[in-house]
Subunit: 479 residues, 2 copies
Amino acid sequence: MSEDKLTPRKEDFSEWYNQLVLRSELADYAPVRGCMVVRPYGWALWENMQAALDRRFKETGHVNAAFPLLIPMSFLEKEKEHVEGFSPELAVVTIGGGEKLEEPLVIRPTSETIIGSMYSKWIKSYRDLPVLINQWGNVVRWELRTRLFLRTLEFYWQEGHTAHATEQEAREETMRMLGVYADFAINEGAIPVIPGVKSQSEKFAGANMSTTIEAMMGDTRALQSGTSHFLGQNFAKAFNIQFLDESNTLKYAWTTSWGLSMRVIGAIIMTHGDDQGLILPPRLAPIQAVIVPIFKSVAETKTVIETVKRVEAELKAVGIRCKVDDRTEVTPGFKFNDWEMRGVPLRIEIGPKDVEKGSVALARRDKPGREGKSFIPQAGLAGMVSNLLVDIQKSLLERATAFRDDHIFDPKDYTELKDVVQNGWAYSYWCESPICEAKVKEDTKATTRCMPLDQKDAHGKCIVCGEAATRKVYFARAY
Amino acid sequence: MSEDKLTPRKEDFSEWYNQLVLRSELADYAPVRGCMVVRPYGWALWENMQAALDRRFKETGHVNAAFPLLIPMSFLEKEKEHVEGFSPELAVVTIGGGEKLEEPLVIRPTSETIIGSMYSKWIKSYRDLPVLINQWGNVVRWELRTRLFLRTLEFYWQEGHTAHATEQEAREETMRMLGVYADFAINEGAIPVIPGVKSQSEKFAGANMSTTIEAMMGDTRALQSGTSHFLGQNFAKAFNIQFLDESNTLKYAWTTSWGLSMRVIGAIIMTHGDDQGLILPPRLAPIQAVIVPIFKSVAETKTVIETVKRVEAELKAVGIRCKVDDRTEVTPGFKFNDWEMRGVPLRIEIGPKDVEKGSVALARRDKPGREGKSFIPQAGLAGMVSNLLVDIQKSLLERATAFRDDHIFDPKDYTELKDVVQNGWAYSYWCESPICEAKVKEDTKATTRCMPLDQKDAHGKCIVCGEAATRKVYFARAY
């Protein structure tokens, strides 16, 4: 933790991000190009995210399992679009146990193929369906330009893979999991994501249809934060996932896959962070409240520490994740900056005068200076802190939603579109032609992000070519 | 799930094991040689094991983090014994993103080297110590002879890596984590492991001293079930992990590492399983009690299901992991066999007569037939089931301990030793010479397993050469 100030967000957003990730000790660069080390503070955040997601997966009937890291090269080749999409990004094992392998193995970039091969073995009858399995793990994609959390060679994620008897069930599952992702991002991460359908050119390699949750970062760029894919019968046919239906007819299954990665940590940073550092949503924060004892003399120490320990025990008793910063080698001011950098939602200061008065000083991370400061009695503190954490969570979401809505535009023509995507998203009718999509990208670097789901009776003209259009899409520059 | 009986343990223990793993749906063979798929039931068991261990790690001050999967080949070469030990087992990535890599990367077989390189960056002062980090993840070792759970190319484990200011602290940590492993195995897995020190020839490649917990399987062979290593300053010197002490002197840190893998699932199977299948210790069982409704007519169904749902809710309310098997396409008898195969500790049968009488039938998995069966009132059932689960846990440990003690021998001479290790362990004085150790191995296939810690004022004669010895060791054939 350095005492230097971060490069301000307005000056250089990208540099601000990199500095913040390192100084808050979320992650560090690994000695292998493009790889990262997730430090304990970052991993604790991920553990909370995992728990919040895993609970939702289990509530919707899913179970976890683990499939191999290594996949025979030939498996990827069984699905044409899939291999075309992933082969440029593969890490290939050619030597094992000192000998050249007969068939090279790739480190999984995603697991549709190896899981498909197992499903074809396990699924025989309609009674075996649906299969609803999720896997928490690591994958490797050989990316050229990498950023901590956002795009690294190895990354941590979960990938759900399901198989169903009917197309409708598989489509429902795709949408159900998109809904789970949106609920997670909004209600746990306080990130007001927009769920929707990807364009054909932006969909997953091997999917019939991809859906996504798209988040707006503090620099207005979009971040794809989770995807759920309807795979049709593509992988079922490639891997021969067949079952006997109730009338004893052999049919191909319908499959889905859906994934959300540690990239969402990047989304949290870039949605909520400020020039003082990270701001973590209380529901996911590894430390929700930090207690900083304040004393000048040794005489003061004892009474202060006594109160601090009692407060800590009271907060822990109601399930608040709190920590006492009892370091003696640094000043309280240094500690304030340090925990602000790390984004702890609430700071509790306890000094000799607070002990005397039976009060504490509270400082909210989301409201700097006096606005976020209050002095409250120790009696009933735990309840007060719990309420305050709920309020911080709510206000982070409100602030991010307001920011997002302030930066979504409805340009009247293509000229205005080209202008607004420089500092925001354009929400416009689009004819769904890849030619118009490519033109926008070439002219502005903005891509289609998603077509929201709830567009009813829409009809308009494509913002690019003027032809008839039935849906609006978000155009934005993206990470 | 097949209705065929398992090959009896006495007939072919190894075949019994393989059949059991597949039929209980703990795991399956992967399409890549030597790799496994951990199926949902097996992964749920591992999740419970992870939670029980992780709680102990956190209680002893450890935090989790994640280090890269890929390690530069040159890193391994920095510690001489380490590279000699691991280089025959490496999986090597030579191609990334379609191009040949300048330096090959190995998939981590263990992470001392890459973690050591990060510690040298993070640790500057005595104030940064101790560093107490654990990682949950997968590693790859190119094994030639593989067995599901016991030895696979890729396996799941946790690896703890700690750095300390003094030798004593690092030695204490090594022993603390050995204690955590023993506590976990005994009190969660009901496996009466014996903790102790490995011989020099059996220690971890790069360690000064290795400790282990050794378990006796149902065929009397030993299974090394978790190891904790004192690494001295070997890795600190190889990776330059140095710190300024309180008097501003630059010193090398002292490090430890410790790991426990999914192999313990193999230990659970081979410690408790019988010819009907798996027997899971209640504390780790994904399903602690299965409820089987019994009815013949549609009329009976409704009243039975009502009671079943109420019982399920009551059990869940007190935290019992239970499941209702409401399949209609199979008979109750099939279900009984099925859940016996899967090792569910307790079966609850509820039929129309039980509904009438306000009772249920309970069947303990650990006591077959009448002995394990009881009929008890529905009132107060949840408390009764909780107590019964505690009792099953206790009785599994007692039974395994009795079996272990019945198969540990104190041979009077080398001839007797050669005999007893054919069907048990020999606990004998040993002069600690690798020559005697090698002789036993050559003559009997038995290896030294560990020297228990609490040997005080021991003095005797080596069972092999007759020279003076100060410690006893377990000799056993091992997995």
